[in-house]
């Protein structure tokens, strides 16, 4: 104090020092009280932790609520976790893969044959995929909240291997366009003539925009179209071709023995044999395209822009990636990888996986 600073000296208002200067000037005298407060807080938390663990809920140390599909496992940590271990794929496989080790569609190797069905893709990648095996939780993290969608995988997961950036930035051109893959259907069909000169002048459609529906019948799921069927489609029932071809039933193999039948009118010939037709009209080998939502907002010719000028049946009228990027960009419609691509192959390809692993 200014009034005095040592025994025997006196200044100002106050008398001599009667109290020695505390050595614990900086630290408060109640240091132990703070330690006791901290220890008490710790005991409260540890007590709650013990209580929570004993009740088998473990909600205190949990990273957060599980997704609704796993909600029944909320209080059973060991269903997924191993003590002092990781969340192993085997634990996931307890529920998600009941078919044994062979042909597991969730394994990384299965990713190689997604959509292509090409077993060689697995075999050529054998050495690599063993090291690249991705654990389930790598893409499907849990404890993100009850309403979280763990199947909703962000682009960053795919971009660790596929360095394409976003769909509207650096995604490669579609493979059929990039490699100019032959999309011969095995048929002779003049789209231009039918769309411009025939169908609009029949009573099959009320307007020319609906002309495609006459031959192309959409599947019940709305995603894609049924294989062309001359008998069941409206063009088959229209009467035009039945008359032209002498009223035969197209699926009756007997007609093929009839030399008068003009097969070559519609079918391409290879020597004396008919070229096998390509009923699957899909051109995207690695991606899924859902026609349904697109048909609600666009006409067929918005994407298949050159179909009116096409003089053959080939499907080369499928638009390039630039057409898709007009809408699927970061500012408009979804442009995430999983919008079109799936990581796990169709379960129907399980037999191929078994074949590859053998």
């Amino acid at each position: 104090m200014a009034g005095q600073n040592s025994e025997g000296r006196k200044k100002g208002t106050f008398s001599r020092l009667r109290l020695s200067v505390s050595r614990r000037y900086i630290y408060p005298i109640s240091r132990n009280r703070m330690l006791v407060m901290g220890a008490f807080g710790c005991l409260l938390f540890l007590g709650y932790f013990a209580f929570d663990s004993l009740l088998q809920s473990n909600s205190f140390i949990s990273n957060g609520p599980l997704a609704s599909s796993h909600a029944n496992l909320e209080n059973n940590c060991l269903a997924c976790h191993s003590n002092f271990g990781d969340v192993t794929d085997d634990n996931c496989a307890t529920c998600h893969e009941l078919t044994g080790k062979k042909g597991r569609i969730y394994e990384f190797s299965a990713h190689y044959i997604y959509r292509t069905g090409n077993v060689q893709r697995i075999k050529s990648g054998q050495a690599k995929h063993a090291a690249d095996e991705i654990q389930c939780f790598g893409c499907h993290p849990e404890h993100q909240g009850r309403m979280a969608s763990i199947t909703d995988v962000g682009d960053e997961k795919c971009l660790t291997c596929h360095d394409y950036g976003s769909f509207d930035a650096a995604h490669p051109e579609f493979e059929f366009e990039r490699k100019q893959i032959n999309d011969d259907t095995g048929l002779k069909f003049n789209h231009s003539m039918h769309l411009n000169d025939v169908i609009p002048f029949t009573d099959l459609v009320d307007k020319v925009e609906n002309a495609c529906d006459v031959c192309h019948v959409i599947q019940s799921d709305g995603k894609s179209f049924k294989p062309l069927d001359f008998v069941e489609s409206r063009c088959g029932k229209s009467g035009c071709h039945v008359k032209d071809l002498g009223g035969f039933a197209h699926k009756n193999l007997g007609v093929l023995k009839n030399p008068k039948t003009k097969c070559q009118l519609c079918h391409q010939l290879s020597g004396a044999t008919i070229v096998k037709t390509q009923p699957d009209q899909r051109m995207l080998t690695r991606a899924e395209f859902d026609h349904g939502p697109h048909l609600l907002t666009s006409a067929c010719t918005d994407c298949h822009t050159n179909i009116n000028e096409s003089s053959d049946a080939a499907i080369q009228n499928v638009p390039t990636i630039a057409n898709c990027q007009q809408c699927h960009s970061s500012k408009l419609t979804s442009n995430r990888c999983t919008t079109c691509h799936e990581f796990h192959p169709n379960k129907n390809l399980r037999f191929l996986l078994s074949q590859a692993q053998n």
């Binding site: 407060m37 710790c42 140390i61 990273n63 940590c77 660790t160």
Partner: protein, 281 residues
Amino acid sequence: MPRKRTFNINKWVQSPKWFWTFVIASGICLLVFIANLFFADIHPGTIWGLGYGIAATVLMLGVALFGVRRRIVRFTKKFGAGRAQNWVQFHVYAGTLFLLLMFMHTGFQLPTGTLMWWVFILSIWVCFSGLFGVFLQKWIPKILTSGLSVEAIYERIPELTNEIREKTEDLIKLCTDPVKDFYRKNMAPALQSPQVRLIYCIDITGGIQTQVKEFDYLRKLLPSEDKERFTQLESYYKTKLELDAHYTLQKALRWWLYLHVPTSIILVVLVGLHIYSILYY
């Protein structure tokens, strides 16, 4: 011609060496995080995320050693780290860097679990209460020395208050009735014990001036023989108010530790529990 004002960081920080080390370390951390954005997922469970978490934990433990500094001072002196200033600087800057690393560990996102929330909130609380303490340590001594005429050690304030009360009681016996009435009504309650007044945190001199203003009204009406004693009384009272200002502000200087230390202890234990749960599950 007006003097050109330049910003000199050395005036604002106690140790520029520690400050620039902290700035560089924070910059490196952020650069690593930006690299992480390009090369891997932002997730606490990745190698990157675990690295941030481990670094944060190591820093936290280093910072926590400040609490047991005196017990290990012999050991640290061997390595030339025994200076109190270095300990304080490390405690402040490494504690702040811990918070940055904790945010990097969570990917600058909010946690999802109960324990994570507690660790997250306590980390922020402990860091900001620590920085609040740094602010108080710089601000309070400055206003105590610049705005008051007396200096007092916190532990002596009750004793000094008693002394002033005894002196005023001796003096008041010699005064006339109006002064005695004034003393009884306006001074006696305040002289009973040291008092905490929040006004001193805002305006230390104004808080005292408003209270001694009442003396001016009575002084004009007093006979000349009382005026001298009354001025002495005013001096005692003013000293008491200054002691109250010391008491209030020095109390704040000590009590902020109650905001910081107990929660720090809880944070260390909860981080331990977090690590245990991560290793176990």
